[in-house]
Each structure stands twice: as structure tokens, then as C-alpha cells.
């Protein structure tokens, strides 16, 4: 399952979520403002709380909106 570490008012997070929706990709939103657990997971994955972070396996991730890298991440699953 694709996970997007993000928070509600972050414009680039919205762009990533909209892109996944447009591609018909199911994903789980992990809100780092609402969930301390999500924030901890995000820190573990990228070492930072800068979002959006998109990941499938919790190891490989894309920071920010980068269509090509997100496509590669999705293709590798």
C-alpha cells in the first residue's frame, strides 16, 4: 500500500495526493500533524519531518512532488 506522509494544509502534499488520485492509485494518508505515530514513522523513513514523503516499503521514498520519481516508485512495486 502506498503511504503519503503529509498534513492537511501543505500544498505540495495536496499535489501528490491529487496525482495519485488522478492515476487511480490507492494510498493511505499518514498525517504527521494529527498522529505522533505517523510523525515518528516519517522521521524513521527520511530522517526528517519535511513532507510530502511518498513510500511503499518504508525504505525507498520520494520527498516532495516529483512525477518521474513517483512513477518509478509505483512501477517498482
Amino acid at each position: 500500500m502506498v503511504k503519503v506522509y503529509s498534513f492537511e494544509s501543505c500544498p505540495w502534499c495536496t499535489k501528490v495526493k491529487n496525482y495519485l488520485k488522478a492515476r487511480g492509485v490507492e494510498f493511505e494518508v499518514r498525517d504527521i500533524e494529527l498522529s505522533e505515530e505517523a510523525a515518528k514513522e516519517c522521521l524513521k523513513i527520511s530522517g526528517d519531518l519535511t513532507v510530502p514523503v511518498t513510500t511503499i516499503d518504508g525504505v525507498n521514498y520520494v520527498l516532495g512532488f516529483d512525477k518521474r520519481k513517483i512513477d518509478e516508485l509505483l512501477a517498482a512495486q
Partner: protein, 309 residues
């Protein structure tokens, strides 16, 4: 092989000017596409509270732009924020806009590509971008809860960013190379906050850190003394630059890099309009961006009527 698509109007940029143009074009039944390479809303997508847009006591940029997008889409305009523009040819008939996935032939092009935040002109900027160097306080401010932040810049955007970031910061430095250019009311708000240290006539000279930013070197321009300041992150607000890279070979740009066009938004190429902050003009406000979008759309329709006669 890229798909070829014809459009009456292609609008480049989905900020206030572009979406207003889209709303008007949509209402005139023109087949309208808006392309956005970055964030829908442009500069105001990050605005926490807009208090100078008529009809609203206070509105955040995200809500205002989402409403405008819905208005434009309700009248048939299509907004594509994922298919990045690679090149444009404006002097041909029709005009050609090539994206990553398609080749659009457009009878009219309205350029409303706005402005981008200026990057910090230091060689280490790339190394620390997203790792302590940030350009969007709304996106990344939360990561600095209880930490030490510096805001670089002294205009309205910088001071507003600093005021916003005080809700996270343990301590905040505002660093600016000359005197304040921000509105008095924003300055007063910042000065009244005891978490804030204001350092004017101070220039950032270097970024230091291993994997992420740990400190900055600053020069006090009055004393000539350079010192190191430990910070967890900096937010850069040193102005904006027009987003005109795609058009520089075909349109005349002003000394500041904006597109030369009159108050009627017409450029030197028939059927090509420039609207909003990307157009060279004296006043650049949200209201004037909406005005430009309106003007460009209405005159685009006139142009199309003649073209189709």
C-alpha cells in the same frame, strides 16, 4: 508519440490571474485548458490570511484559490497540474505548447505564470535545500516545533513568514541585509514577540552542516564582524523572480525579466496575452492579477471572434 490536441485557449499558470482568465473563458464557452507546472494558486497558495481581497475580512489563500478553481471548472475549464510544459512556440499559427505528454495547438495563449521565490544565492544552497533550507513556511514550518529558525529577508512576505513561524520556533532570528521593507503593522507584530531577534544590516554568507543545516555564517555589515549562528533551519524570503524562462526567446522582457504588455495585457504577438505578476507593471496585487485575468480573457474572446470570421 505525443497526442495532438486543439484548444481555443491555453492558459499557462493557475494562480489568481490564470484561474480568473479561465473562469471568464469558461463562461464564454471557450475550450480552455490551464496548465500549471507547480502549485495551483501560485504565490497565494501559501498565504495564511489574506486581508486585502475585497469581499473577505480574512481568507486563506488555499480556500480562495480552491473556490476560484471550482468556479472555473464549473464553466468547463480544465486544469492540469501534472503535465509539465517543456517548450512553447508562440509566433506560429496556431501557437504550440508541448508538454511531457501532449502537444497542444492553441489559438490563444494567456501567460499567467507568475513569480517564483528567489533561491538563496549561496553555493551550499542545493546541498541543504529541504534539509534545513526552506522556501515554504506553511509546508515545512511544522518540522521546527521547539527549534531555532532564521527567516532571511525583510519584505512583507518575510515578516509575515516570521510571524507565522513564531508559533513553532523556540527562537526566531529575522536576518535582512538592509532595512525593513515590510508594512509597519507586520513589523510591530514581530517586534512585540519576545521569541524574536531582529538582525538588520546583516548578510548571510555561508551555510554549514554535515547532512543537514546546523549553522549559518552571518556578516554584521555595520561592524564588519562575521559570526556563526546555530540554527536548525532557515526560511528564505528574499524576493521573487518572474517565471518567464519559457518565453524569453519569443517575447520582449523588461529589465526585471517580466513580459512587456500593456494594460490590455496584449503582448507583441497577436493572440498572446500576459496577465498578473508576470506582466511588467507598476502595481502587483491580488486584485490587479484578477483584473488582468479578466481583461486578457475578454480580449482573447474578441481576438478569437475575429480569427474565426
Amino acid at each position: 508519440m505525443k497526442e495532438h490536441v486543439h484548444k481555443d485557449v491555453v492558459i499557462i499558470g493557475a494562480g489568481m490571474a490564470g484561474l480568473t482568465a479561465a473562469l471568464y473563458c469558461g463562461r464564454m464557452n471557450l475550450d480552455t485548458l490551464v496548465l500549471e507546472n507547480a502549485i495551483i494558486g501560485g504565490q497565494i497558495a501559501n498565504a495564511v490570511a489574506i486581508e486585502n481581497y475585497p469581499g473577505f475580512v480574512s481568507v486563506n489563500g488555499r480556500d480562495l484559490i480552491a473556490t476560484l478553481q471550482t468556479q472555473a471548472e464549473n464553466f468547463g475549464a480544465v486544469v492540469d497540474e501534472f503535465d509539465e510544459i517543456e517548450r512553447v512556440t508562440l509566433k506560429s499559427t496556431p501557437k504550440i505548447i508541448e508538454t511531457q505528454e501532449k502537444i497542444y495547438a492553441a489559438d490563444v495563449v494567456i501567460i499567467a505564470s507568475g513569480m517564483n521565490r528567489r533561491k538563496l544565492p549561496l553555493p551550499e544552497e542545493k546541498k541543504f535545500a529541504g534539509r534545513g533550507v526552506h522556501y515554504c513556511e506553511l509546508c515545512d514550518g511544522h518540522a521546527y516545533d521547539g527549534k531555532i529558525i532564521a527567516v532571511i529577508g525583510g519584505g512583507n512576505a518575510a515578516v509575515d513568514a516570521a510571524n507565522f513561524l513564531t508559533k513553532y520556533a523556540k527562537h526566531l532570528y529575522l536576518i535582512h541585509r538592509s532595512e525593513f521593507r515590510a508594512d509597519e503593522i507586520s513589523q510591530q507584530r514581530l517586534r512585540a514577540n519576545d521569541k524574536v531577534t531582529i538582525m538588520l544590516q546583516t548578510e548571510i554568507k555561508a551555510l554549514r552542516g554535515d547532512k543537514r543545516l546546523e549553522s549559518i555564517e552571518i556578516l554584521d555589515k555595520i561592524s564588519g564582524v562575521t559570526k556563526t549562528l546555530a540554527v536548525d533551519g532557515i526560511f528564505v524570503n528574499i524576493g521573487v523572480e518572474p517565471n518567464t524562462q519559457l518565453f524569453k526567446d519569443e517575447l520582449t522582457l523588461s529589465a526585471s525579466g517580466r513580459i512587456v504588455a500593456g494594460e490590455d495585457c496584449r503582448t507583441e504577438i497577436a493572440g498572446v496575452f500576459a496577465a498578473g505578476d508576470v506582466r511588467e507593471k507598476e502595481i502587483r496585487q491580488l486584485t490587479t492579477a484578477a483584473s488582468d485575468g479578466t481583461t486578457a480573457a475578454l480580449l482573447a474572446e474578441k481576438y478569437l471572434s475575429k480569427l474565426n470570421q
